[in-house]
Symmetry: C2
Subunit: 215 residues, 2 copies
DNA sequence: GCAACAGCTGAATCGTGGTTCACTTCATTC
DNA sequence: GAATGAAGTGAACCACGATTCAGCTGTTGC
């Protein structure tokens, strides 16, 4: 007898898998989920279509993973700024809102795919988790604010969800296929409007939001 | 020669067409877009599948019309309460919000389909128009409020969109497949939270919203 | 070198629904 | 009641894209 998988071959296998994930992600980020059929992704990764199935159960499973990872990155970015130490809850909500909006505007096709593009049911389930993650992020900030007395009592779960929905909806227009560019000034105004909206919604005067550079 | 379409035959034709529309609508309202294949709809309307194609270009065209009509009904209902005469803009925003939310909660499967369920691209375009219609409805109320001085200046288009998104997102959880019932008390609390949210968002103290019965 | 085996290949296959169309039914006119 | 044509029928058809699999390639251990 002879042969046993070795470090090298396992590394290659991993690399192939990663390459497929990246190709799938890039395809979605560039042209949306609708454009991401298995053949296209495989070609982009430089492998045969069959290879995709040696690494993933199904197309759904592949894209569920793609969505999960991309979504997690977004959640992490927002969570990072929302953790801003020694700041009021209002400031952190503003920062989270701003990051959410800026990142969406900077990667509109991906954001559109993550937030609203029609996808298959398995991937849709992943999206729901993603949105729910954002709800929770905002809700826990709000809980903190209510607990400390900074904010009025409220149903923080509902308000968290509403904030996420507000951002997503207001961004979808600008994210939409047709909407090309106008790429700097209008973005600033939109971001400012959304931050203001969020602060109003949580019942806080704006107290002029500081400038910073999450993006 | 002999034969000419007559009033009677045209009426029948119209009735068939209407029956198909109704069957398609009811199917979506009962079990969602995903369940609404042509065979099912035809059976429900009591006609053969081929008949569907004598009345509609394609499945997309049929469901685009179904969505258009259902969406228009929703828009009309909200517009009706938002036209409440001799009321402040804030009161009318509150009323519109309440109607939007209550109607969605009373017809959750339909609302889910209209608002977020994955659909084909042609139908998705119809959904965008629907959401845009709601944006405009809220935005024009806000314009009025800003013009009269009742509200602070704001980007009414953005705030209109954000309000619609907030409502949709906060409702999707309760609308979701899994979420069964709890059908009265929780609804009231949710509606109240959303109205409060909307009033905060437009920067108005609540001034205790009056009770009424749009649904 | 060669046996053993994993990973890769990509054309062929398969499933799912939308769509078609040759035929049937039925109302209409003379 | 026979000719005419529109409306309706539903089994067959077809497009599309996910999935499979028989063979091929490259690596490993002796």
């Amino acid at each position: 007898m002879a042969y046993r998988p070795t470090e090298l071959t396992e590394a290659r296998r991993r690399a192939t898998r990663t390459g497929i994930l990246k190709a799938a992600h890039d395809q979605v980020a560039e042209a949306g989920y609708a454009s991401a059929d298995v053949k296209t992704v495989a070609a982009r990764a430089g492998v045969a279509t069959g290879t995709v199935y040696r690494h993933f159960e199904s197309k759904s499973a592949l894209f569920a993973e793609v969505f999960r990872e991309a979504a997690q990155r977004e959640l992490d970015m927002v969570a990072a700024v929302a953790a801003w130490p020694d700041r009021t809850v209002a400031e952190r909500i503003a920062a989270g809102t701003e990051t959410f909006a800026r990142r969406a505007l900077n990667a509109p096709v991906l954001a559109y795919a993550l937030l609203v593009e029609p996808v298959d049911p398995v991937v849709e389930a992943e999206r729901l988790r993603f949105r729910h993650g954002h709800h929770l992020g905002f809700a826990s900030l709000l809980d903190e604010g209510v607990a400390s007395g900074e904010l009025e009592p409220m149903d923080t779960a509902v308000v968290g969800a509403a904030l996420v929905g507000a951002l997503a909806e207001a961004l979808v227009g600008p994210l939409s296929p047709s909407f090309n560019g106008n790429s700097r000034r209008p973005h600033e105004a939109l971001v400012a409007s959304l931050v203001q909206f969020a602060l109003n919604a949580i019942h806080k005067e704006d107290a002029d939001v500081p400038e910073h550079a999450h993006a």
